[in-house]
Symmetry: none
Amino acid sequence: MFLSRSTNTLDAKGRISVPADFRSVVSAKSQSGVPADADGFDGIIVWPSFDGPYLEGGGIALLRDYQALLENMDPYDDARIAFERAIFAESRRLSFDANGRVSLPKELAEYAQLNGQVTFIGLGRRFEIWSPKNYEALAVNAREMARENRHRLRLVGRPNPPSQGGGL
Amino acid sequence: MFLSRSTNTLDAKGRISVPADFRSVVSAKSQSGVPADADGFDGIIVWPSFDGPYLEGGGIALLRDYQALLENMDPYDDARIAFERAIFAESRRLSFDANGRVSLPKELAEYAQLNGQVTFIGLGRRFEIWSPKNYEALAVNAREMARENRHRLRLVGRPNPPSQGGGL
DNA sequence: TTGTATCCCATAAAAACCCATGCTATCCCC
DNA sequence: GGGGATAGCATGGGTTTTTATGGGATACAA
């Protein structure tokens, strides 16, 4: 699960360290020692958001989830085709180097207006990559809006666990 | 999984470099060192789309998937016969040369209005081959339409797994 | 011959790989 | 609990490998 927020440096070669937390999410090995992902890909997948000047990303498992979702739609549904083109076609496989960095293609960096500093935002199943400046503005609103909508934050599901502390 | 988009050159001899990403998708070897594809074919399979002036393609695994799909239809269903003729009969096996290129038959290049530059579009299980000009227009629409329909892109919550990493 | 298809080689640019260095958090031993 | 050893992380920079592409040589067929 992608959690937390951290800002790293985009160096002159276009490389950036993926937060160690994030790396361990995507490169979780199975017991056999083989990567959990069937195709042995060790890295992240990133594409330009279609909702603003930032990037979205996740592990290959996320892409498979999207694939499953899309494959349940009509093959020639316009929305499906649009999603395929906006996500699959625009995404890039970025694999980790020995130090846990990826090199970010220039056009993605430009799309997200990144130069120098880059902020990773963990959002559970996926994450976002922002220019720190652009993100600042949103972050303040988020807490306010969350407060206004706090009544909708109702957990469902798990029956009461044996005892120990519940809560958020 | 075919991901990303890239534009390569179609040279005077009708050859074109298949993006390295795509090559590694289709020529993934099994642990034994033998090609995963039973028949040892190392290349891609391409046919003219029946939905526009572009080509569709994939690995031999994709063709097998289509075969399985069609074999579940009535043998004399007109649609089945049409699909078989439009896909199987029109497709070409293009094998990689030592540098990862294939040579694209002229009639396919003409069908997709290719000259000089060629764009490969990764779409998960399959890919498409477009004239860059023709695709450009679609790409901008795709992002807009994806944005308009983004509420449909909802990943279902994974059921609570025993313990380790669940969904958001 | 004239194309056409295959194979081989050369090369520039880009990507991947390797090594080194501060810095921080953690561990462990006394 | 202090303090040094240790390990992991983020970062910089050089070097090697891969990739995409052009072009020559060879074999075969129309």
